[in-house]
Symmetry: C3
Subunit: 327 residues, 3 copies
């Protein structure tokens, strides 16, 4: 069996690239570590010295203020030095290749790359080429994976619903193009969720999904019936008209989550969304801002989950214990 | 009477949005606190740990390197973590609304927003929608207010002139479009300045200003006669020609501050300007760089005033006492 | 004799603008100090508190992610606060002059400017106008000088080759337009290198270079014969065609460093390049990534050299001693 590139020789987490193939115990350990950081963010002084003197490079080949910001805050709250590099506007304008950029930054003795890239596999490619002491975190690669987003979603579900196994979870929207959906499906399977559903028009579903063990729905009302968790996906602007969909109005009529639609789910169902939301496209404002929405909790938990993953990849002692102590 | 949104339930300063309606005692307390920070910036180690572990977001919807820089330095010298977000180039490109942006950042457990926005009332609007533990500082909103600039101007005047009540202060230039002028006039009135003058062509004065208690002049020589303080305003490029003014040459001839003109003021009069200056438009270089100019002192005091306001809004114990101690 | 602006009244290094006229002892002292910082960057916690509470402004009028990043990392590892200002996109858009920008930042009590500018002499001009407590570091000015790059190159040579005096060093490429080459030639002369060669087509050499004491070659094979060190220069895109060169293919054929060409040099010769490299233009990938290449070591040493220069210009006690202690 090929050893997973995500672990070092001692079997410890080193890179965090995809959830595919990870053991349930690791996912639980990440969530347990994040649990200890939730209290850090509620403190007056929101810092722990776990990564003091470490240099983390935010390497964003695709612009995302929101994701970059959460990683930057997570790193700063661990007392790391953070370097944010937007590659779209820098080195490549001098025609430098991706690996040359990585090798140069690595030669500056940085400890970690947080990589966002429009191409699937970019973070994995970088992880294959860095030195043994350097870690790579995938902050979203093409349509492939967005594992920290999926982990914060799982963490949100666990904090509210407790046990994963009896849950019904529906993912609604553009499954075909969504790295978030791909990573969430891996996570839900690993954690033993018994009923995983995808709800989308046929044009926004990958071919062969019927053979995946998921329950596939093309009708929102039918798909939402008695679910515990509804995960709405963002409809990207470029899909709002043309070959995939007739129009965004049409999409909203058929797949937009309204209060009426949400009544199909269990009364205590929660509504999630990776953000940023398109109000009136995939979700009605009354649902997004309603009592069942946990969208903003997700954002806060995103900091705690990223603090957990950054500190675990750096093997910074007992991260959970350190987090409990004052900085 | 409606309670001022700028104070918390215990009556302590929470937001800093406008000077309108504030008590003289608060303005003096801000200046007293700033006084203690002036010595910090002169030290070898220019840091105090007052805001350690706090996260301050510079949210600039309008580009201003200078103002952003002073807030960033003020925050760093208080040991806060600073996140600078230029919204013009980020979230809104994904079509996210202002409140969604604020709510998301707030969910990341940030403590303060420093807001610059082209629309009057933007900072106030944000302050109405944030959670109780979050503070909002107005770093300039449309034509409405720029209260930290006005406070640093008052602080500069107090450091040099001492008592406010006997002073004659003239504000010269585009009063109509200037948030700086609006905030300065509030501050000067609150502090009991006996003679407040505005000097401008009629097209650059708001309607009804004659009823405001200010002395209005359309002639620079007449307006400057025997004043103690001259505050020049920046002439925005877009006013330099067209409906408001014949040309910038014509403006300089009538309202540009030259050494000859300045002789109308008292011999110990000081010349102020919020910067950046337009040399040869509203002010002659010999005046800007001359012995009566305190323009660069204003910049330095701007850091101290912003340190005072940031730490007071965060209620960080006895800010003044802490500033006196070494970090 | 005119006192060198680079030193203060006590004869200590204050600005670092050019290597021209510096004594060998100073260059050795910089390298000795850098030596102590090499171990810092290998530590778990890569920080020393030498510049805590100091504010360093990266003032880049020319975009260079790589150079800005190395200065930013050097400053952060010395625990300074760093402000990065890209002037192309900020103050000058409001029409503010260079000196007004400098004076304003200086009024904010910053301690050091690291300046990159397209005009030769810009850093020197700024150094002439700042207050006595402020230092200026030249991070590249026009075609004039890039002294920190030259120093990291010397440091790399010393770490590998030891003594400078017996060495043969060849600089290959666009000598005419290269500030790196100019500074390297000064450094090599100061350090007593016995055989300094430049290899370039006549169109890429300055007039009168034959009278400079350098050995001039227009043929790569002849020039490389028995050298100890090969320094390749980056061929700027704008030279790749037109008046200076027929085409980049032609340039590669005549001046590109291939494995075959490198065999002219001594077997233990090292290959250097300031980066970013143009693979297949001035250097073949097999050489750039080969065993004789020290290009990535240069990058790492660049941090140590910049830490040395920043701390020496700030006169931060015994920088070398402090670096040996844990932070």
């Amino acid at each position: 069996m090929i050893r997973d590139i995500q672990f070092d020789d001692a079997g410890r987490l080193r890179h965090f690239l995809t959830l595919e193939g990870l053991a349930p115990a690791l996912l639980y350990r990440i969530m347990d570590t994040a649990e200890s950081f939730v209290s850090v963010t509620d403190r007056q002084i929101k810092k722990v010295p776990l990564l003091r003197g470490k240099t983390i490079v935010n390497l964003f080949f695709e612009n995302s203020t929101r994701t970059r910001t959460t990683f930057e805050l997570a790193a700063k709250r661990l007392s790391a030095d953070v370097l944010s590099i937007n590659i779209a506007t820098s080195a490549t304008s001098k025609g430098e290749g991706l690996l040359d950029t990585i090798w140069n930054l690595q030669a500056m003795h940085v400890d970690m790359f947080v990589v966002r890239h429009a191409h699937s596999g970019a973070a994995h490619f970088i992880a294959q080429h860095v030195e043994p002491h350097v870690s790579v975190i995938n902050a979203g690669d093409g349509r492939h994976a967005h594992p920290t987003q999926a982990m914060l979603d799982m963490f949100t579900i666990r904090r509210i619903k407790g046990d994963f196994t009896p849950l019904s979870v529906a993912i609604v929207g553009d499954i075909l193009h969504s790295r978030v959906a791909r990573s969430e499906i891996h996570a839900l399977k690993i954690l033993g969720v018994s009923d995983i559903r995808v709800i989308a028009p046929p044009t926004l579903l990958p071919g062969g999904i019927e053979q995946s063990g998921l329950r596939v729905f093309h009708d929102l009302d039918a798909g939402l019936r008695d679910v515990d968790v509804v995960i709405m996906l963002r409809l990207q602007r470029e899909r709002m008209s043309g070959t995939f969909l007739p129009s965004k109005q049409e999409y909203y009529l058929r797949f937009g989550l309204t209060e009426a639609r949400l009544r199909q789910a269990r009364p205590d169902a929660i509504v999630m969304h990776p953000g940023p939301i398109n109000r009136g496209v995939e979700i009605d404002s009354r649902v997004a801002d309603g009592v069942q929405s946990v969208i903003l909790q997700q954002v806060g938990y995103g900091i705690a989950i990223r603090m957990a993953i950054l500190s675990m990849a750096m093997h910074s002692g007992d991260a959970a214990a350190a987090a409990r102590e004052a900085s």
